[in-house]
Amino acid sequence: MSARLRYYGPAVLVFVGVLVLWEIVVSVFGIQQFLLPRPSAIAAAFAERFDELITVGRNTLVEAVGGLLIGGVAALAFAFATARWATASRALLPIAIAANSVPIIAFAPIMNNWFGILNPLSKMMVVAVLVFFPIMINTLRGLTLVDQTSLELMRSYAASERAVFAKVRVPNALPYIFTAVKVSATLSLIGAIVAEYFGGAQSVLGQFIITEAAFFRFANAWAAIVVASAVSVAFFLIILAIERVAIPWHASARTRDAS
């Protein structure tokens, strides 16, 4: 317990200190609330609009998770196919890399057009396209960057390609995949909110922020940003927890006194 306190203590202190400093600076220098509301004002706005914030936060999270699932599954399928068949790799990889340099968010209005502006799928697809590349390229790296001696070992057992895949390449790729999915969790929320800025259903974080800002209720907009951050952090932590359970052998999960 005291070890935990020592570990998290400094971060908590800094966080609280920043909030206090923020509060003081805003009131002492008389900063206009539309430029930067006081933390206490944001907290009040948060309490006042709590139910609505929870609803919009949940709706956006659904888009982010849906998009991450669609993009993630597609990326895994793509990476497995390219790692397994050299022909697939030669045919698909250059296209994927070229596609990655397209600023994906520019597709948001097109997605609205394709899937219907009110359909959450239009936002999910923006997220899916956004997370596709990082997950795909990391998975591919994990599947192909395998210790050569491990492959020779499998060769000495006259192991089939399938066995090499199942017993060496896939386990080797798992840490890479989790790293990519953790990064993509944050990315998926950014993608969902930005996609929402391009119009669509009203009961989502992006639209909430736009509307409140348009009416100069900046404390509410800030409260929504706090919700967005909290959702993002929670999403990240959930994936971290899954990672701990799925690959307990990985270096990131090793306890310091184990060796």
């Binding site: 060769r155 057992y157 017993k167 060796s259």
Partner: protein
């Protein structure tokens, strides 16, 4: 010792082509009898590891024939006739010690319970009972290499190929593992081909030391080490042991001049 497990006739290995050709091995004739413990020793780059990899069908010869158990090396690999231990243990981080040892058994149709039983027996053989459920990174380097040996022996291969398996370990661990390896060899009767650059290690372990020259690798001499079995710590203090060490050392040194002589001859022709 009946029959040869490995038969090599006029084996050559050339890497690359055209002007970049490297003659790694030059006309190797070698027979390894069943149950023998044969060490390959020579200066670095002499092709001793390549020779081992040729026997194991991890690389292909440019010329000559290689037979393992009366079959081609390729056929022998497909029949899982040999286990291999590399210089690094090559254990999978995501498997426990026990599951690492089971790995080769998973390639054949052996049920789970038999696999676990076999793994436990092998771990007992390398004196690692009790470590079944640990992960490789929780073990010392010497213990990891013992797991690798247990894994290589788990499917009872006819031939155990070891490529400088103790090269990365400290001297004391190395001597202890040498003793253990001899114990395993006696218990299992497996034929062992062992690559090393340590003369004392080669002499202590082997029934036969194959001395090789620098590139292109050739066999300069085959030394029959008829020190009494079972060998133990006292063997290392035996006068005849020192005599063998000296003999191998002189052979290795003489290898260079012999090679120069051969080159001069070739140039004269």
């Amino acid at each position: 010792m009946t029959g040869a497990v490995v038969r090599m006739r006029a084996v050559q290995k050339v890497f690359g082509g055209g002007a970049d050709q490297t003659h790694a091995l030059d006309v190797i004739d070698l027979e390894i009898p069943k149950g023998a413990f044969v060490s390959l020793i020579g200066p670095s780059g002499c092709g001793k590891s390549t020779l081992l990899r040729l026997i194991g069908d991890l690389t292909q010869a440019t010329g000559g024939t290689i037979e393992v158990n009366g079959k081609s090396a390729h056929r022998a690999r497909l029949d899982r006739d040999y286990g291999i231990v590399f210089q690094s243990p090559v254990l999978f981080d995501w498997r426990t010690v026990e599951r690492n040892v089971e790995l080769p058994l998973e390639m054949s149709a052996i049920d789970r319970r038999a696999r676990a039983e076999r793994a436990r027996a092998m771990l007992a053989l390398v004196e690692l009972s009790g470590s079944e459920k640990r992960y490789p990174w929780q073990l010392s380097g010497g213990m990891q290499q013992r797991v690798a040996i247990a894994r290589a022996l788990s499917f009872e291969p006819a031939l155990l190929l070891m490529d400088e398996p103790f090269g990365a370990l400290d001297e004391m661990t190395r001597e202890r593992l040498n003793l253990e390896l001899l114990g395993i060899w006696r218990k299992t009767g497996t034929t062992i081909v062992f690559v090393t650059h340590s003369i004392p290690e080669a002499v202590f372990l082997s029934t036969r030391v194959v001395v090789m020259s620098a590139r292109p690798g050739r066999i300069i001499d085959v030394v029959e080490v008829d020190l009494p079995q079972p060998r133990n710590d006292l063997t290392r203090e035996d006068e005849r042991y020192f005599a063998f060490v000296t003999r191998v050392r002189e052979r290795l040194r003489g290898g260079d001049s012999a090679q120069v002589a051969a080159k001069t001859r070739a140039a004269a022709m």
